[in-house]
């Protein structure tokens, strides 16, 4: 009996997930293949649930198979009942979509194999639902049967030395493989499924960069590594030439976020100051350059004889003003700690945006600043996405250089000491005021730099571009990537900024997936995908030592 109960519970959970996806409108957007997808999912769920049970239960074949059947049956019946209710309502002319926006007749049709007219007409949905239930039950059964495979044994075999060697070799080769795939798309006549070759190419680029980061980490320092680095750098430098406009545009945004991530990493990762208002400095940099350069800005219009600066003159000004803003905002928060610091910086971020929005006589208000000139170097207009990407890459390298040098200096040590224990750090003779302000100011200077680049890339900037979600994105990307780790910033930016751009056409699903990804990552790998080695140890020790006091 216990057995059935357990299976029933798993079944309900599976049903919950299926129902959620159902209400999210997956049948509507997928059409007929939705049944295949759902069945696969049920199979996977059944497999996952049943594999996790203790060994003696898992080994019991009959028990396992029965549970698998129950899981499939419960979710199948559950979904059928709901679908039947929806179908009846729809037949009665009640628009279910007024409550659940995605539950339209087509949605019901996709689940039952009928057309919209048939659902609304007098064709019964019951045969379709029977088929659905049977399919799910079968899927649950197969999933449970799969648990009997000797997975552990296979894995053990793979984990042996030769397996590891294969992996590290694969890591070495992977970036080149993806680069190859990307280039293959450029070859005349070659097409890879679907109409979105552009997005597929983009995906290969991201895979290339990601794989390159992993490969670099896996390879021991030495001649091998130097060769790898040189090869990868050359490929990276060539990349913008092969990519098309949209790909370069997306990479450009990713680049700008990488620069910002490196800056915020100083504040949050090294100095341990939780800053939720980082966008303020980004906005300051962007507006500083925009107001000084756009022929339609308040400054240029009201200063007689002033025609606006070019990008290379505006950039240092933006950086300095950004740093100054960081210094200024740093002063009042010197005494605050933890969550109070977080909310005050968040407040500053909002204040910055709202001031830009409301001081419309000077900033252009909601109308923004338009016609911001492109960077010009030796008479060349560098405003196109490819050149912007090159500039972003250059900026990334420069700030990485600066950050690494700072991190390894006594200032970096002082930051990390402060993050570890503020009081003791001060008792060691560290001037907390100075290093906190330095952290804020250097982070802000980098954001200012990114802001100027963003402004010139966008041509027009608006206050809405500097909302809270920018801060949240940057914070999330350094945490997903691995806080305190510079490769992590790159990877985080690709995962959180780049990938969603590919999926932009499919609107809101990407943000739901983004939210789910953040939660999942925090549970699975709180230290990030590519953690800095030191940080990784912190988080795991915290994790396994629940016995230490939680102060």
């Amino acid at each position: 009996m216990n057995n059935l109960k357990e299976g029933f519970r798993y079944g309900l959970i599976s049903y919950g997930i299926i129902l959620y996806l159902n209400l999210l409108g997956i049948p509507l957007n997928f059409g007929d293949i939705v049944l295949t997808i759902f069945s696969l999912l049920i199979g996977l769920l059944s497999f996952a649930f049943l594999r996790k049970r203790p060994n003696h239960l898992r080994k019991n074949l009959r028990n396992t198979l029965v549970q698998g059947l129950i899981i499939g049956l419960v979710s199948g019946l559950g979904l059928s009942i709901v679908t039947y209710i929806f179908a009846s309502l729809q037949k009665d002319g009640i628009n279910v979509a007024q409550v659940f926006a995605q539950v339209k007749p087509e949605h019901t049709g996709a689940l039952t194999g009928l057309t919209k007219e048939e659902v609304l007409g007098d064709v019964s949905v019951l045969p379709g639902l029977l088929q659905l239930t049977l399919l799910f039950t079968f899927a649950g059964f197969i999933g449970s049967a799969l648990t009997q495979l000797p997975v552990e044994k296979l894995r053990k075999q793979f984990d042996s030395k030769s397996g590891l060697k294969t992996i590290s070799r694969a890591l070495f080769v992977l970036p080149f493989f993806f680069y190859g795939l990307f280039m293959l798309l450029k070859v005349e006549g070659v097409q890879i499924a679907g109409t979105e070759e552009n997005n597929l190419g983009m995906l290969f680029i991201f895979l290339f960069i990601g794989a390159a980061l992993f490969a670099l980490r896996a390879v021991e320092p030495g001649r091998q590594k130097s060769i790898l680095v040189i090869l990868l750098v050359v490929l990276m430098l060539l990349l913008p030439h092969f990519a098309d406009l949209k790909q370069n545009a997306i990479l450009g945004v990713v680049g700008i976020f990488i620069v910002m991530g490196i800056g915020l990493n100083i504040v949050v990762g090294y100095a341990g100051l939780l800053d939720l208002g980082y966008v303020a400095f980004f906005a300051v940099g962007a507006y500083a350059y925009a107001l000084l350069s756009s022929p339609e800005s308040y400054v240029v219009l009201n200063l007689p004889g002033f025609e606006g600066v070019n990008f290379w003159a505006g950039l240092p000004i933006a950086i300095i003003i950004g740093a100054f803003a960081g210094f200024l905002l740093g002063v009042p928060v010197l005494r605050m700690r933890g969550d109070y610091l977080a909310i005050v910086t968040l407040g500053f971020g909002e204040i910055a945006r709202l001031l830009v929005l409301n001081l419309r006589d000077y900033t252009g208000g909601p109308g923004g600043v338009i016609n911001i000139p492109a960077p010009i170097l030796f008479g060349m207009d560098l405003g196109n996405p490819r050149d912007i990407l090159y500039i972003a890459m250059a900026f990334g390298l420069i700030v990485t250089f600066f950050t690494v040098r700072l991190r390894d200096s006594r200032l970096g040590r002082a930051w990390i000491a402060m993050r570890e224990d503020e009081d003791v750090a001060q008792a060691m003779g560290i001037n907390l005021v100075a290093i906190k302000l330095l952290a804020f100011a250097s982070g802000a200077a980098i954001a200012g730099m990114a802001g100027a680049l963003y402004a010139t890339r966008q041509v027009n900037i608006f206050p809405d571009n500097f909302a809270l979600d920018v801060s949240i994105n940057v914070l999330s990307l350094i945490i997903i990537g691995g806080i305190g780790s510079l490769e992590g910033v790159v990877l985080g930016a690709i995962v959180l900024i780049g990938l969603p751009e590919i999926l932009r056409t499919v609107d809101e699903y990407r943000i739901v997936a983004f939210g789910a990804l953040l939660v999942t990552m925090m549970i699975v790998r709180p230290e990030g995908i590519l953690p800095s080695t030191r940080r990784k140890r912190t988080l795991h020790v915290h994790e396994d030592s629940e016995s230490t006091s939680t102060k």
Partner: protein, 423 residues
């Protein structure tokens, strides 16, 4: 449940969502396309690279769409998108252009310059896009503008009304919507001369559209001799309690409130006015507020509120036909969804008419469209019959037909109270 199990579930979940995100499965398998259906860009005649778009026989003519499916006014965006789709269905039913169908490449411009930049770069990179319909909002359209101009792709916006959109320097910028300047003038004139109100309070939603219109209205109303009390007072999109702001505005005892902004906030302001002692104050707003969603949002308080909107001179019949088709296809009336459907339908038709006028068939049976000729053809559109009236572009790309008319909510529906169509 163990932690790892949760983890696994969560992973599955993400995976399935991502799968969902991939839509129809753009990345299902790697296959090599047969040579005869090669990508159009590959068969482009070498001597004409960049200047013309060559479309192989059987391939569609592709029009990019930037539309606000997310952001502050997704319901308007959806309305516009559905109208674009209807226009394409009608055009293809009428035979397309020289045997080629039209096809839309719909992207979410999110009512935001940021998203539009990426969308526009995508269009610029895709050499098969001949023209763009959109964007929905002013900021979005300004984001499209520099990139499309560089790429020589003309656009026609259905709903971006800010005066900044079109100017003499931009030959690819066109719109069917009427400029806010015109709207502000008509509104001010109607209020001052027809309603006889002179004491105004002006509010806005601090968006480029709402604030821009509020400022234009303020100057137009003052020019007529009216008084604008106090400063322009702004509200924030996303807030829902505007009583404090309205109380402040109410201290000056205005005869009416002019609100520049969108429908949700407009509806809430109209409703909350009654709760702060402004029962007798007239609510007057703009084309961002016109439509059924306003009446839903304001409820009973919507009665007697005014909104201005575009109305053409000979629209009734064609519009009824369009409304019927729309309802059949999407299950709601266009007016319940948003206001700009007629403009959206017209803008695609305008693009199609221009394409039809410049497209030629070459010796190999390919369709050839010259980009510069298309830009010129759109700009010189003249006398095109549309849902909104007769479309004729002026030299800076304002092509809107009809005129701004005033509507009032009477008995739970917007009733036209000025201009053509009234006898």
């Amino acid at each position: 449940m163990s932690k790892r199990l949760i983890v696994l579930l969560a992973t599955l979940f993400v995976a399935s969502l991502l799968l969902a995100a991939c839509g129809g499965g753009a990345t299902e398998a790697v296959v090599e396309k047969p040579a005869e259906t090669m990508d159009p860009e590959m068969v482009m005649p070498e001597e004409a690279m960049g200047d013309v778009v060559v479309i192989a026989p059987g391939d569609p003519v592709r029009i990019g769409v930037s539309v606000a499916l997310t952001g502050p006014i997704p319901e308007f965006g959806l309305d516009i998108q559905q109208s674009y789709e209807l226009a394409i269905v009608d055009l293809n039913a009428a035979g397309g252009v020289l045997g080629h169908d039209y096809e839309l490449d719909i992207q979410d411009g999110a009512c935001d310059g940021d998203a539009a930049t990426i969308v526009a770069n995508g269009f610029a990179a895709d050499l098969t896009i001949v023209a763009v319909a959109g964007g929905t909002c002013t900021g979005e359209t300004l984001g499209l503008k520099p990139i499309l101009q560089e790429a020589r792709i003309p656009f026609v916006s259905a709903s971006a009304t800010n005066p900044k959109i079109t100017n003499a320097d931009c030959d690819i910028c066109n719109r069917v919507a009427l400029s806010d300047k015109l709207q502000a003038d008509v509104d001010a004139d109607y209020i001052y001369n027809t309603l006889g109100l002179t004491q105004a309070a002006v509010m806005h939603d601090n968006s480029d559209y709402g604030l821009g219109l509020a400022e234009l209205f303020e100057s137009a109303f003052k020019a007529l001799g009216g008084t604008v009390l106090g400063e322009l007072n702004g509200i924030q999109v996303g807030d829902t309690d505007f009583r404090a702001a309205l109380t402040l505005v109410g201290t000056d005892s205005p005869e009416f409130i002019f609100f520049g902004g969108y429908v949700t906030e407009g509806g809430l302001i109209a409703a909350q006015m009654k709760e702060v002692g402004m029962e007798d104050v007239v609510f007057f707003s703009d084309d961002g507020v016109y439509g059924q969603p306003f009446i839903d949002a304001a409820g009973a308080a919507a009665e007697n509120a005014y909104a201005s909107f575009v109305a053409g001179d000979e629209i009734a019949e064609v519009n009824a036909e369009f409304d019927a088709k729309y309802e059949a296809a999407y299950g709601t009336t266009p007016d319940a969804q948003g206001p700009f459907h007629a403009q959206a339908y017209d803008s695609v038709n305008m693009i199609a008419a221009a394409i039809a006028s410049v497209a030629v068939e070459d010796a190999d049976g390919n369709l050839v469209i010259d980009r510069e000729a298309l830009i010129k053809a759109i700009r010189t559109t003249s006398g095109l019959q549309g849902l909104t009236g007769v479309l004729t572009c002026n030299d800076i790309g304002d092509c809107g037909a009809g005129g701004i008319q005033i509507f009032q909510v009477q008995g739970g529906a917007f009733i036209q109270v000025s201009g053509f169509g009234l006898d």
